[in-house]
Each structure stands twice: as structure tokens, then as C-alpha cells.
Amino acid sequence: MSDQPTLPSFLPNETERRALLEAIVYVAEEPLTLEQIASGLDLPADVVKTDLQALMEESRKPERGVEIRMVANGYKMSTKAEHHEAVRSFVGTLQPKLKLSLPALETLSVIAYKQPATIPEIQAIRGVNVTGVIHTLLSRKLITTAGRKKVIGKPMLYRTTKDFLVQFGLSDLSELPSLKELEEISKGLLGEGELSGDDEAPREAPGEAAAVEDAAEAPPEEDRSPS
């Protein structure tokens, strides 16, 4: 009884805790991480986590129109996608979300998987000049700079941002299929299934960005780019 951490007096029980958690997630503009909530309310993280889990489950029920989801490693409240048509007619004042072109999405996905990555590395995969797209992605805050690579010329490195996770509704990078899975899909689509080259090195999962030092994966055309 007495070894409990002192709970704030306004939070005597589970019912009230959950109500307060719902209120907080409702109010916040950004996804709130478990740590933010637990330390902000001075409550044990595991208790908060269980409560939020229950709230999320509750909000997924079909009779609810507003749900709590995991986005960018945090909890966030939003409407459900299935109501978008009706909701849109009531949110005329909200700005429509900007679209991204397919080339921009492809460049973004290269960065998501290869981060941190330099422009020459991205271009080696995309096969085209990507500087314009990089500008777009930077100004939309989907990517940001991530220091410089320690190679000749010290090129800037780029990585995806938290906004990227938010705008794509991802809870974290590991939610993306692994490169291995993508490779299987690609091979299935383009080949008759049979693998020819078996010298394929296993690739990193997104986010495990240890590859700063080695440019080994970049195809050799890289050296045709000037400068």
C-alpha cells in the first residue's frame, strides 16, 4: 500500500486517469510519446501505457468517430479515414493537404531506407537529378539535413523527420516493409521468380542507418557525376 509512488491527488482511480488521458491526447497538436505523458502527469509509464492501450481499443469501435492512434511513436487523435467524405464537407476551412508527386515519393522512400544519405547516393539509385525534389521535401519538412558524410567534398546527409512519420501516419520507420521484402516483391514482379545473382548482400532495415561510412552499395555510375 505504502510503496506506491504518490499519485497526484486529482487522479484517484483508473476511470479518472483514462478521462484525463483522453483529454490530453485530444488537446495536443503533436503525437505525444509515452514518456512525455508519463512524466508530464507524474504517473508510472506502464500504467499510462495500459490505459492508453485501452483507450485506443475503445476508440476503434465502429460507433466511435474519433480515434486514438500511434503515429510517430506517439499517441494522436484524429477522425477515421472511412468518414472522410462527410467530414470534408464540414471542414471547408481546413487547408487541403498538399499532394506529393511520384518522383518526390520515390526520392523520399530512398531517403527513408538509406538514411542518412547524400544526394549523389540518392541519384545513383533514382538515375535522375533529384535536387529539385530534395528542395521540395526540405521545404515540406519531410526531410532534414543530418550532418555531413566524411568523404571527399563532405556532402550533406539527409534523413526523414518526425513530420514524415506524422504525414504518412507511420508509428515508426520499422513499420515500413524491409528492403528484403521489397526485393522479393520486385523480383516477383519483374523476374520469373528465379534468382540469378546470389551475390546479393542482405540490406539494412530502414532506420538502421549504419551505412554512413560505406559507399559500397552505390552503383558505379556515381563517378560520372561532376564535382
Partner: protein, 289 residues
């Protein structure tokens, strides 16, 4: 895995070093490769190649390189006829394809066992597969994004913030360097606006108003802006510029009372509108006589 020596091409067709796209027309008689490339726009040469492979259900591990090369060159030729500007990357890839095609004609190294024979296509295949992975990733991201475009949040955070919290932009490194660049640009352009009767194009007035408002968080009295114009021509150009900027949703005009002062302030889209150079270029084209 096909044997490169079975290539249908005869040695005479081997392209020379400074080979132009083959002279035969798009409807090639010989191998019946009359595959009709729709003149779609491709972001890059790899996208074009992948599309050719996909549409013809070609096994990527056994690309009929002569056929694909001729289809690829056809596309380039058609693009040129239609005056579509393709990039240097497309030309580079053409050279690569022609090089692979000629390598395929070389006899095997008899000293190497079959398994170690190098396939000249190998590297291209890896490049295509690598690219395809990210096309898949992009499509997956697009789906995620579509869902996200359809959900809305409406957090009433502001009601819980201290009054003392100053409003402003959440800033990143990009904003920092971007804003330094625009400061420099403005510094460079500054004297231009002091020349009486100088540059009075609508475009220049938009530039002037843009710079005037960029550093201004509050409203500006429109009358004062007009009064600062050195000539009638400049005033008219400024008026047109204001109307144009309203249309572009860069600014908002407001008049609080009848016959009161009209004030102009930035629209919330101001920074978005001026984030690229497009609008000004377009305006310039519209108004220049």
C-alpha cells in the same frame, strides 16, 4: 539465363563507337519488335526501361537486350520528334545499352567454367531491381499518405497555452539557410526600388510588395504604400500587383469600416506562394507587352 552467343544480331549490326540511334524506322522488320511505346513521360531512363520490361512481361534476368535497346532508342527518337526534352541521363543510358549489346556479341572466355561467365547485363539488372524496390516503397508510402490525407485532427491546444507564448514559425535548418538566402537577395535588389521612374513592371512591384511584407507581421496601410510610389505609372503597376497578389492568395485586403483605411497583410499562404519562382515568372509573362 540465356546464352549470349545466341543473340539474334549479326555482327554487321554491331553499333560503332559514335553510333546514332539505328537508322531503321520504329517499325523494325527484322525481329518484329513493333512494340508501341506510348510516349509517356518518365522521370528517368530506368523508369522507362522498367516500364518496357513490365509491359512486355519480360523476365528481368533474361532481358533481350537488342530488342529492348531498339525500343529504348525508338522512344528517344519519338521524344525528339515531339520536342520533348529528355535529360542527359537518357543519353547516358542509351550508351550503356549499346555497350551491353556489343559485349553480348563477344565470345565466351573458354578458360572459364560456364558458371563464372560474366553476363554483361548483370549490373543493369541489379540497377533495375534496386530501383524497382523503391518504386514499390513509394507506392506503399502513397497508400499510407492517401489514408492520412483523409483523416483530420482538430486539437484545441491554443486554449491551453500561456498568453505569453509568442507566436511564430517552427523553424528548421532549412528555414535558416533559406531565410539567409532571401535576406541576401533582398540586399542585392534593394537599391533598385529607389530609382524614381525606374523599373515599374507589375512583376517588379510584386517583388517590392513581397519584400515589404515579408519582414512585416502586422498590417500595412495600402494608401501609404501607394504614396511611396514615385510615379503614376508605378502606382498603377502597384495596384495591379496588389490585385494579382490577392488572386495568388499571397495577401489579404481588409477595410474595417466604410471609407476606412484599407490595410494589406500577409495571407497565411504567403510563404507557400513565394516559396518557388513560378508565380512571378508566370506573372511576368502575362503582363509583359
Amino acid at each position: 539465363m540465356s546464352d549470349p552467343t545466341t543473340s539474334p544480331l549479326s555482327p554487321e549490326e554491331t553499333p560503332g563507337p559514335d553510333e546514332q540511334p539505328p537508322a531503321e524506322g520504329p517499325r523494325s522488320e527484322e525481329d518484329g519488335s513493333s512494340f508501341d511505346v506510348k510516349l509517356e513521360q518518365y522521370a528517368g531512363p530506368i523508369d522507362l526501361l522498367l516500364d518496357l520490361i513490365r509491359k512486355q512481361k519480360i523476365n528481368i534476368y533474361d532481358i533481350p537486350i537488342a530488342e529492348i535497346t531498339s525500343q529504348y532508342l525508338d522512344y528517344l527518337r519519338q521524344a525528339k520528334e515531339l520536342n520533348i526534352d529528355l535529360g542527359g541521363e537518357f543519353v547516358f543510358m542509351a550508351a550503356t545499352l549499346i555497350q551491353i549489346k556489343s559485349k553480348m556479341l563477344l565470345p565466351h572466355d573458354p578458360t572459364l567454367p560456364e558458371a563464372e561467365q560474366e553476363d554483361p547485363r548483370e549490373q543493369l539488372v541489379q540497377q533495375l531491381l534496386e530501383h524497382e524496390k523503391f518504386i514499390q516503397a513509394a507506392q506503399m508510402l502513397q497508400q499510407k499518405r492517401l489514408v492520412e490525407e483523409n483523416v483530420w485532427s482538430n486539437p484545441p491546444l491554443e486554449a491551453f497555452l500561456d498568453e505569453a507564448d509568442e507566436p511564430g514559425l517552427a523553424v528548421s535548418v532549412f528555414d535558416l539557410v533559406n531565410s539567409f538566402q532571401s535576406v541576401l537577395e533582398r540586399a542585392k535588389n534593394r537599391p533598385r526600388f529607389d530609382v524614381p521612374g525606374g523599373d515599374v513592371s507589375v512583376e517588379s512591384r510584386i517583388e517590392y510588395l513581397k519584400n515589404l511584407l515579408r519582414g512585416e507581421d502586422g498590417p500595412v496601410v495600402l494608401r501609404e504604400v501607394f504614396e511611396r510610389q514615385p510615379t503614376r505609372r508605378a502606382m498603377i503597376a502597384t495596384l495591379l500587383a496588389v490585385l494579382e497578389m490577392v488572386r495568388m492568395q499571397a495577401i489579404i485586403l481588409r477595410q474595417d469600416e466604410l471609407f476606412g483605411e484599407i490595410v494589406v497583410r500577409k495571407h497565411k499562404m504567403f510563404d507557400v506562394v513565394f516559396s518557388g519562382e513560378q508565380p512571378l515568372l508566370a506573372v511576368e509573362a502575362e503582363y509583359s507587352e
